[in-house]
């Protein structure tokens, strides 16, 4: 099996990628030139929230952003947190359990 991209240079061509990247940068620079630069810096570039000031509470905290995902996997995470008990006895238990399983497989086969 030959690789799709690296060995034959068909789908992956660094020169092409750099050229594409340079092209996108040039386009961005051109758009930037076309923009209206006469706005009030520090005022109009702030997010507009119906005229209210942006409060810290409006920035949801990191643990909240995947709330739905964690809710869906609640059962899985409760088992995982149980496993990750932070107790060194459990760390050793899992190590020994793995060792026993591997020893059993190794000796039988």
């Amino acid at each position: 099996m030959s690789s799709l991209f690296i060995f034959e240079g068909t789908l992956w061509n660094p020169t092409l990628f750099i050229a594409l990247f340079a092209g996108i940068l040039t386009l961005l620079w051109m758009f930037n030139k076309l923009w209206n630069h006469s706005y009030n810096k520090g005022q109009q570039e702030e997010p507009f929230i119906s005229g209210n000031a942006e409060l810290e509470e409006m920035h949801p905290k990191a643990p909240s952003i995947y709330w739905g995902f964690f809710e869906a996997f609640k059962g899985f995470y409760s088992k995982m947190h149980e496993m990750h008990s932070n107790a060194v006895n459990d760390y050793v238990f899992w190590f020994l359990l793995t060792l026993v399983i591997i020893l059993l497989i190794g000796v039988i086969i």
């Binding site: 799709l4 690296i6 990628f17 750099i18 920035h59 964690f70 899992w94 000796v107």
Partner: protein
């Protein structure tokens, strides 16, 4: 001048290990006079080691395997009370695989020490000597050709790593250090028992000699299982990974970056045991599938646990576990089809992807840990619930973080893309379900790093203006970022120059077992 270069080239193999070790003692002694001397001593030690690695690499690429002994057998012996005479020697060996590991270690150690200059503002008298001892232990692990020395170097690196975990973050460190040393010691004891089993049967500890002598008896099987589990634990494989977030999380970022290399040195030892020591004598399919299962578990559980973390460094530590899963998966596939036509068809490519991923992982994970350190340095917290808007004040760190995040998620043109694509393609040919899991894990990795990016760098400006990041820290992150891009843009060059010789050295058990001669 040429004579000096020639002398250093010939002795590079042991100088790589000895220089940081001597540097550690020197830094410790010099710190009694003035603690400012620690940094230059550490920097020169790692730089010289890097140069010696390059000199050794030239020899390995030119002539295959380089072997050396620190003392010649006939000159140094130990006479026991029974009258038996035993040779004392430290047998060192470098081939394509070990030189790749030494290269990774030397690169990250130089950058980690440079980063430390303005990052480590206290405990320098402990930090630099311990760091250098740990580096020396890592070099020893990857360059030794002797099983007992492998155990000794593993212990050296584990004990110094524990010291480094212990030294900082007084609140949580003793607990994390205790966990690390407990699990490390138990794993090391298992490895020592395995070495004892092999020694009792074959009266030898030299790995290339043992590779020829192993008969695959019941005791050999037990020894393999003990060695396998011990090194898998040290590599941070699920379900023996619990110490990783504690250890990585409670050390300075520069140490965490090197911990990645240290875990990979254990992974190297695991692969070396499976391929070079036991080779085709083992049941490849069974051992390969055990590695694959550990890999899939590591990938999936690592990333799922990373998603729920609130501490930026613990999150990255779980990602380190997850990425180790990719390496295990590729090498597991390679081992499962070793010696069959499928190895030529896709097994070799799976191994190339995995070994390439080891190199890439050290670079982008090192970068991500350094950016996490920069965030902590600037904002004074690692808690994602307290961080926000750092991108307003730290544009360069934000860019470096993005490069690292894109690389770890496997987006083109960054280095993670190249190695992950090799793994996806080859593993797909072996079993499409495994490849689909690997892809899913990459998507979850992206989600996890979007969360960090959103929490730390986006949002309104922080209440307290963050501290500016010193130039040495920025320099280390810049170099790693550039490497992420360069290795991603030109993966073919890296594969031909570094990865293919490493894979050939690993799978060619014949060439390894044929090295029982001293230079």
């Amino acid at each position: 001048m040429n004579e000096w270069v020639s002398f250093l080239s010939v002795n590079a193999l042991w100088l790589i290990i000895v220089v940081p070790l001597m540097g550690a003692f020197l830094a410790g002694a010099a710190s009694k006079l003035n603690k400012k001397w620690c940094f230059p001593i550490a920097l020169f030690s790692v730089l010289f080691s890097f140069i010696f690695v390059m000199l050794l690499a030239q020899q390995v690429w030119a002539g295959g395997i380089v072997a050396n002994t620190v003392e010649h057998v006939s000159q140094t012996t130990l006479t026991l009370p029974s009258g038996s005479v035993l040779p004392i020697r430290i047998f060192l060996l470098a081939d394509g695989m070990s030189i790749l590991m030494a290269f990774i270690g030397s690169l990250i150690s130089v950058l980690a020490v440079i980063y430390s200059f303005q990052f480590i503002k206290s405990q320098e008298t402990f930090y630099y000597p311990l760091f250098l001892v740990m580096i020396s232990g890592m070099y020893g692990m990857v360059l030794t050709g002797d099983l007992f020395n492998l155990f000794v170097f593993l212990e050296i690196s584990s004990i110094s790593a524990t010291g480094l975990v212990m030294t900082f973050n007084r609140k949580r460190s003793p607990d994390s250090a205790f966990k690390l040393i407990t699990v490390s010691t138990i794993a090391a004891m298992m490895i020592l028992v395995a070495i004892g089993i092999l020694y009792s049967q074959y009266n030898a500890l030299n790995m290339s000699f043992l590779a020829q002598a192993i008969q695959w008896t019941l005791l050999d099987k037990i020894a393999l299982c003990l060695l396998f589990t011990g090194f898998a634990m040290k590599a941070g494989s699920v379900p023996m990974h619990f110490w990783v977030p504690d250890a990585y999380g409670d050390t300075p970022a520069s140490v965490s970056a090197f911990f990645v290399v240290l875990s990979q040195a254990s992974l190297y030892a695991l692969f070396r045991i499976c391929f070079s020591l036991f080779g085709l004598s083992i049941n490849n399919v069974t051992v390969g599938w055990i590695i694959i299962i550990l890999g899939v578990l590591s990938m999936f559980i690592g990333v799922m646990m990373a998603l729920v973390q609130k501490d930026i460094k613990r999150l990255m530590a779980f990602h380190a576990i997850s990425q180790t899963g990719y390496m295990l998966l590729g090498v597991g596939v390679g081992l499962a089809v070793l010696g069959t036509p499928a190895f030529v068809e896709f097994g070799s490519m799976a191994m190339q992807g995995s070994i390439f991923h080891m190199l890439n992982h050290s670079i982008y994970k090192g970068l991500l840990f350094l950016t996490a350190g920069a965030v902590f340095y600037a904002a004074g917290t690692r808690d994602l619930r307290e961080l926000r808007g750092l991108g307003h004040y730290m544009p360069l760190t934000t860019i470096f973080f993005m490069v690292g995040a894109f690389a770890i998620t496997g987006l083109p043109p960054f280095n993670g893309f190249a190695s992950k694509l090799l793994i996806y393609e080859s593993v797909y040919a072996f079993n499409p379900v495994l490849s689909a899991i690997a892809l899913l894990v990459s998507i979850l990795t992206l989600a996890s790093f979007m969360k960090v990016f959103y929490a730390a760098f986006l949002g309104p400006k922080p209440k307290k203006k963050p501290k500016p990041i010193p130039h040495t820290m920025l320099f280390a992150m810049l170099v790693l970022s550039l490497l992420c891009v360069v290795f991603g843009l030109f993966p073919g060059i890296i594969l031909d120059a570094l990865i293919k010789p490493a894979v050939e050295a690993l799978v060619s058990a014949v060439s390894y077992s044929g090295v029982f001669t001293f230079v």
